[in-house]
Amino acid sequence: MTSVTARLYGPGLPPAGQDVTLRIDGHALRIDAPQRVLPEQGVRLRRVGFDLKGLELAWDDAAGTHALQVLDGSAVENLTRALPATLQSAHSELTRSARKENSGRRLGWAVLGLFLAAPVILLALFLVFADPIAGWIAEQIPIEQERQLGEASFAQMKDDLKLRDDTEAARMLRELGARLTRGSRYTYAFHLADKPEINAFAMPGGIVVVHTGLIRATTRPEELAGVLAHEVQHVELRHSLKSIVKQLGLSALWMFATGDLGSGMAGSAATDLLTLKFSRDAEREADAHGLDTLIRSGIDPQGMPDFFRILAEKAGDAPAALLSTHPQSAEREAALREKLGALPAHSAQPLPWKPWPPVL
């Protein structure tokens, strides 16, 4: 004989139910106050309660429908153990369907979670596979379009650059450039800009601009060749296109993943930091490939690390714009020297231009 505290609802009772004690004695289920006897046949079992852990026994008689509910966990266990055989099978059926429902519910939650997490997952995937994705997309853009893009932005900047393309130094620059870009699929144009900052930059499609300030900072033509080889590799490796793709993808996915949260200061700082990381990766890649270009062109590659030595020394005082989105010059110098040390011996003729630096 088992007694379980339960709550009874039905005709003749308060609508909010009444606490009762259910007595189970073999096959007989009865309640003493008020007097109720559950029929042997026709009792329906149902999971109830907000957490669906309770059990309801419902039955009909002449007065109407009665429902007996047990919500407390341990009481439910007691009741379950004491149920007569006829109800046991119904109960195990209920457990089976509850289990099925539970797994369905878990699946639903998983789908919902995945759906909510999708932007974050996409962002993470993008961060991991940014290089191949950007590379693939960049390859889909024809060189002709890339050239137009570069020319359009060059046309915009042209007036500010104070170009000095008719000088002896500019001719030298073009000669050196032609030597470094022999056999390239791009058509290059090298320009000399009369500006004091130590800087040089490449635009998509093969436009390379060198500041006079940079040439003044070099001590021999091989150092300038090192810088040019680096910029040429930015073009060859389509870094501008890739960085546009990466930035667009990153900001779009970032917005998607964080919504309003990511639009504040912290959000833009985070995307900026990532963009800078992409940029520094590109610089390292251009350094490494630039070194190979120098060797292929028969130019002494020592000029490249030598120039970074100069940059590193100047970093303290001169406004070296080249440094901002770039890795530390000293670090780049070390990486290049290491790479050079591992390479087999190579022959190089000194570059002919003397005196150095040329008249600017």
């Binding site: 709550r7 039905g10 139910g17 429908t65 519910r105």
Partner: protein, 264 residues
């Protein structure tokens, strides 16, 4: 912990407040900010968590407070206890137009599930908990979200509903279909779920959304006629500052009628 048996009186019609009479030594807990007035002799204590029973240590308190955060209530509850000699009164006001529901938890079997954010005040000893909606559909489309508030104890508790209140007693197996968002509270014996409206045309143009909330008896349910969110929506829609331009009161002339109305 024994419950404090309190006497109360509800004043007002559409914007109500409830006055609770405390015997010496008795106390009530209130949602922070809900107190309207209190008589001399009533002391106010702010406690971290729900202030119901002695929660075990710091961790228990933090847990209680965390639960309150989830239900959208403040981290602190305020306990009002009568330190005077005679009976003293403290009043709690409803935060928006509607009705205050006085619930005797003892009559309900000790537990009430209610809409989060609807708790107003209770006799000391009533504990505020949360319950997570396990049914995905009901959580997403039931209008009450995934978290509901659970009041446990056997004293009086007061929750607040928007608009006019409907109390309905459901017989075993009786099903009531309710517009989502209109459910304020129900006994845990009631099965809360959703049901697809059934016809695509109704779903799209019927204006009731894709789902009804369904309440299956046995047990008592409390419904509100005007969920706060609906009221807020209408106000924002009608506010010129929010670009609403106003819902007209049915003028045939439309925009021209506005000029004739002369209210702007």
């Amino acid at each position: 912990m024994a419950m404090d048996v309190v006497d109360y009186e509800i004043f007002g019609n559409e914007m109500q407040y409830v006055e609770i009479e405390l015997d010496p030594g008795e106390a009530a807990i209130g949602e922070a900010g809900a107190m309207m007035m209190m008589q001399q002799g009533i002391e106010m204590d702010t406690v971290f968590g729900d202030g119901s029973a002695q929660q075990g240590g710091l961790f228990g308190k933090l847990l209680g407070a965390g639960k309150r955060l989830l239900t959208g209530e403040s981290l602190f509850t305020t306990v009002f206890h009568n330190e005077g000699n005679g009976k003293r009164r403290v009043a709690f006001a409803a935060p928006y137009p509607g009705k205050i529901v006085a619930v005797d938890l003892a009559e309900l079997g000790g537990t009430l599930m209610c809409q989060k954010d609807s708790f107003l005040c209770a006799a000391r000893g009533v504990s505020l908990g949360i319950a997570f909606q396990k049914k995905l559909g009901a959580g997403l489309f039931g209008g009450e979200g995934f978290i509901m508030q659970k009041l446990d104890g056997d004293g009086m508790a007061f929750v607040h509903a928007g608009g006019t209140l409907l109390v309905k007693d459901l017989a075993p197996g009786e099903v009531l279909r309710v517009d989502t968002g209109c459910v304020v509270a129900f006994q845990p014996s009631v099965d809360f779920d959703i049901q697809y409206v059934g016809k695509i045309k109704t779903a799209l143009f019927g204006g009731e959304g894709l789902f009804f909330a369904t309440l299956q008896g046995p047990g008592r349910v409390w419904l509100q006629s005007l969920p706060l969110s609906r009221l807020a929506n209408r106000i924002v829609m009608a506010a010129p500052a929010a670009g609403g331009g106003g819902r007209e009161e049915g003028s045939l002339l439309g925009g021209l009628g506005n000029i004739l109305d002369g209210d702007r």
